[in-house]
């Protein structure tokens, strides 16, 4: 370091001394200013701070509307008002509490529950104390705007299911996001208090339909009066959704199920688009669009008929004789039967030292495969089962999608059961008896399928083995992250074999087979009935107390037309009785509705007579 000249050092010292001046000056000014603001004008500013309140008002975005395939709106939104409590504005706790309980009629225990639920959310976030209020409550709140600034109205769009319970199981319902859903991150972009889809399409395509919430930041004074708008971000409505559902067909399906327990499904076998999906009994999802009351909820979940259950996919049943279609396909593919193979039915036959019955005591005589399907002969298919063995049956049923989820875009689908020796060992820990194979051959025993699985298997037969994935989404305005895929594959099925099965099904409807109640003159409908014994005939007599519960389950499945399939149908009725009598006429109505619109209006005029059969 070079030595500094003494004069320079002195100069620096002199000039450095000058630096004290700004320091002292700055600090004197700042100290004086703080004295002025905090001491002299402190009360004035304290008052201003007291009057200073920002309220952030959430503007809930409407969910996207849901339309049917022909643009008929099924689910829309309607405006509604909630009553909100701004906790930071509460002046005296007991006064506010009494007002809420007495004037607004909120039950004390409900209020406590709501306050507890929102304990963790920020103090400055309003909480909903009553939803979807009527004009009475609105006027009470408006009248007390001045003396109860902590209680305000908040608009919120609400789900409107235009046709009530129609297609409720497909559409689903919405509800407030639960704590479990928040923790499991089932809805990544949702927060406490948000409404999210809980079932059906509402749940499945929640992200597509959820809008972007907006907010309004307003300045309010200590009385809660709005003093000005700071910021406003508009909400953006969610994306629209078009379903494959056909409103007209769905309406007919629902009316056919009125007063019954069961499911009706219609699908386009060419592409898997679900045209109608009705399950009865049903529920009205409008009841869920507000936070449902505990009482209503208990009523729904304790109903022995389980109205929330979508019977077409969420429950499985013995397929009964409709399983014979699968048996026919398997036998043909395995080469066990040909066009000329005949089996004699004498009304009953011995298999593995046990006597098995046909449904006609005197028997069908000698019959081939087509006739066996037409007449739904048990003995013929017992024999097929015996020749094939359970493994082969399971293999072919599996290939046709039975006992396995179809992959439809609705939540909660069940697998059903496709029994095999391994399955029995695993679930029941016992050996498979050869006699069980005989029961399975006619769709009794342990085999159980959802109506949708049956529908898909029949569609594959109708389409020469084309194997579609059923779905209810036609298109979405806003696609979900991974675009929906509906894979199409093929079941190995020889076209001649398929033709043979179809011919048997055609005869069943049109040639005085078991499905003749589904016949419509001039339409080549193919079908197969099923009747599932719940209980053996001996026991039936013993259980006489509730005859309705021992009544057989009824099935009908079919498609039309034979040479150009465009609609496949399945009808299933719990304890409906014989399939040919209970289920087949309902399918007929569905076919009639569908084809009447397809340039066959004369079919509609025959409607009244058919209805009578259905009601019987």
């Amino acid at each position: 370091m070079s030595l500094q000249p003494e004069s320079n050092r002195q100069l620096i010292q002199q000039r450095l001394a000058l630096f004290y001046i700004p320091v002292i000056l700055v600090f004197l000014v700042l100290a004086a200013r703080l004295w002025q603001l905090q001491i002299l004008q402190g009360n004035e500013y304290a008052l201003k701070a007291e009057q200073n309140r920002i309220r952030t008002i959430q503007v809930v975005a409407p969910r996207g509307t849901i339309l049917d395939r022909y643009n008929h709106p099924l689910v829309e939104n309607r405006p509604s008002f909630n009553i909100l409590l701004y906790r930071e504005a509460i002046k005296d706790d007991s006064g506010t509490t009494n007002f809420i309980i007495e004037k607004l009629g909120v039950r004390p225990e409900d209020l406590v529950a709501r306050l507890r639920r929102n304990k963790s959310s920020g103090l400055y976030r309003p909480i909903v104390i009553k939803e979807d209020v009527g004009i009475d409550d609105i006027s009470v709140v408006e009248a007390h705007k001045r003396d109860r600034p902590e209680i305000q109205l908040g608009p919120e769009p609400r789900r409107l299911y235009r046709y009530g319970s129609l297609a409720a199981h497909v559409l689903g319902y919405v509800g407030e996001i639960s704590e479990d859903e928040l923790l499991s991150n089932a809805f990544p972009d949702s927060k406490t208090g948000d409404l999210v889809g809980k079932s059906g399409v509402e749940r499945m395509y929640n992200a597509c339909m959820t809008g972007q919430d907006g907010r309004r930041q307003v300045l309010v004074d200590s009385l809660g009066r709005e003093m000005g708008l700071l910021e406003e971000i508009d909400s953006a409505v969610g994306g629209e959704l078009w379903l494959t559902i056909d409103l007209e067909l769905q309406t007919v399906a629902e009316s056919l199920l009125a007063g019954k327990v069961g499911a009706i499904l219609a699908m386009d076998p060419r592409n898997g688009e679900i045209l109608a999906m009705a399950s009865a009994p049903s529920f009205d999802p409008n009841n869920f669009s507000t936070r449902i009351s505990e009482q209503d909820w208990n009523l729904l979940i304790n109903d022995p008929n389980r109205p929330l259950q979508n019977r077409s996919i969420q429950n499985s049943y013995s397929p009964g004789s409709v399983f014979k279609l699968v048996m026919a396909e398997a036998a043909l593919e395995e080469g066990l039967v040909g066009e000329n193979t005949r089996v004699h039915c004498g009304g009953a036959a011995m298999f593995y030292n046990r006597l098995f019955h046909c449904h006609i005591k005197q028997g069908h005589g000698s019959l081939d495969l087509q006739t066996a399907i037409t007449k739904s002969c048990n003995i013929f298919f017992y024999e097929m089962g015996r020749r094939m063995g359970i493994s082969k049956i399971a293999q072919h049923a599996h290939a046709l999608g039975l006992g396995e989820r179809t992959g439809i875009d609705l939540p909660g689908e069940r697998n059903g059961v496709l029994p095999s020796p391994e399955w029995k060992m695993q679930t029941r820990g016992s050996k498979w008896f050869a006699g069980e194979t005989i029961s399975v051959a006619i769709g009794q025993g342990a085999v159980s399928t959802t109506p949708l699985q049956v529908l898909r298997a029949v569609s594959a037969i109708a389409m020469d083995g084309k194997f579609v994935t059923p779905h209810v989404l036609l298109r979405a305005e806003r696609a979900q992250e991974d675009p929906a895929q509906w894979p199409v594959s093929r079941v190995s099925l020889d076209p001649d074999s398929a033709q043979m099965i179809r011919q048997g099904m055609w005869s069943s409807v049109n040639n005085w087979g078991t499905s003749h109640n589904a016949a419509i003159p001039g339409l080549d409908i193919c079908g197969k009935t099923g009747t599932v014994q719940i209980i053996s005939i001996e026991n039936k007599k013993a259980v006489q107390r509730d005859p309705s519960l021992v009544e057989d389950h009824s099935w009908f499945t079919g498609f039309a037309s034979r040479d150009n399939p465009e609609i496949a149908v399945v009808v299933f009725l719990e304890h409906g009785g014989r399939g040919g009598i209970a289920a087949a006429p309902l399918a007929k109505e569905l076919f009639r509705t569908y084809f009447a619109r397809k340039g066959r209006p004369e079919l509609l005029t025959q409607l009244t007579g058919a209805r009578n059969i259905g009601a019987r």
Binding site: M1, F19, Q38, G122
Partner: protein, 363 residues
């Protein structure tokens, strides 16, 4: 280098604790105002930065400050390279492209450059043999400051760029600015003011009008100033208490953990608290000035004076802004406001000055 016992003895604990106290006060304010909000990550990060800053402080203290000044031309060049690279690889935060990502952290090289410029300029002026600075020396000194300033302006961070000006003026003045040059600069400043005024953007002009009459436009331009004054004033003598400040918690205060952190403190700690912070700053400034006067050589004196001028500029502009005496400018309160780069730089600068103070007798 062995640590000299005498060196350790001359460590100024009171000064150190005053600096640490300011950082801790800032930490408490950040905790109070951000916990339970969307800003809640700031407290933990700031605590981490404080640890990092203390480490930095110790490292800077360890080597004789002449080591830094001897290598300053390399450090300065490296600093320019980093600053320039920000223009290409930098990240934009709040529309300023002045951040470099280092792992999970974003760092503002322009902050550290302030200290580098101080040492570089001090070194250049200190080596002048003459009593007064020649015009050529003033020009070269000006270039040392101007090049990084331009780079910072190019990053769009006008607030940081402006802070280089007082450093240049103070060091030139101390370094031996001729009397006639003082008048020229003052005159130039007076003449440049209207030109500068015309170059300001409309919102910047608005901020200046607002100081003159904040109630004119309370919802927009004057909003921040009014809310800050309400926050400070409503704290009255004792304050509303920890986490009780409604102005801060209700979101009336903008940038309450950074530029307006003093308002939060004043609201919650009252006049007693705000005047104490002021006293802590005053104490630090007086210590800096004393260190400058007592330092062993010209370079030490100039470095301390440079740090002093940087700090007093920041504190004056920031506090002037929050109490409504100066226009709104995005300049944080050193040591107190949330912000890692600023905190690390402040501690490094303090370490440098403590270094100079400790080695004033040692050869």
């Amino acid at each position: 280098m062995k640590i000299n016992r005498r060196l350790l003895m001359s460590f100024d604990w009171i000064w150190f604790f005053a600096v640490l106290a300011l950082a801790c006060v800032g930490l408490v304010a950040i905790w109070s105002t951000t916990e339970g909000t969307s800003l809640n990550s700031y407290f933990g990060r700031q605590a981490l930065y404080l640890c990092l800053s203390l480490a930095c402080f110790l490292i800077v203290l360890y080597f004789d400050y002449h080591v830094y000044s001897d290598f300053i031309s390399f450090i300065y060049a490296a600093g320019l390279v980093v600053l320039g690279s920000v223009l290409f690889f930098g990240q934009s935060i709040h529309s300023n492209r002045s951040w470099l990502s280092v792992g999970p952290f974003a760092f503002q090289p322009s902050e550290l450059m302030k200290v580098i410029v101080i040492v570089a300029l001090a070194k250049y002026y200190a080596e002048s043999e003459r009593e007064h600075l020649e015009l050529s020396e003033l020009t070269i000194g000006g270039l040392i400051v101007l090049v990084p300033t331009v780079l910072v302006i190019l990053q769009g961070d006008l607030g940081t760029a402006v802070t280089f000006l007082p450093v240049y003026l103070a060091l030139s003045f101390l370094g031996g600015l001729k009397r006639k040059h003082v008048f020229v600069i003052v005159l130039a400043g007076v003449l440049a003011a209207p030109v500068g005024w015309m170059m300001l953007k409309d919102y910047q002009k608005g901020r200046i009008y607002t100081v003159l009459n904040p109630d004119n436009d309370p919802r927009h331009m004057g909003y921040q100033t009014i809310q800050s004054k309400i926050a400070i004033g409503s704290g009255k003598f004792l304050g509303k208490g920890f986490k009780q400040g409604t102005q801060g918690h209700l979101g009336f205060l903008p940038a309450r953990h950074t530029d307006f952190v003093f308002s939060v403190l004043s609201e919650e700690k009252g006049f007693l608290g705000s005047i104490s912070i002021l006293a802590l700053f005053l104490f630090v400034f007086l210590r800096l000035l004393r260190t400058a006067r007592e330092s062993k050589d010209k370079i030490g004196m100039l470095i301390v004076a440079g740090v002093f001028s940087l700090f007093i500029f920041h504190v004056t502009i920031n506090l002037g802004m929050v109490v409504g005496l100066l226009p709104i400018a995005g300049i944080p309160l050193p040591l107190v406001s949330a912000g890692g780069s600023s905190l690390v730089t402040s501690f490094a600068a303090m370490g440098l000055c403590m270094n100079i103070k400790m080695r004033r007798y040692v050869n």
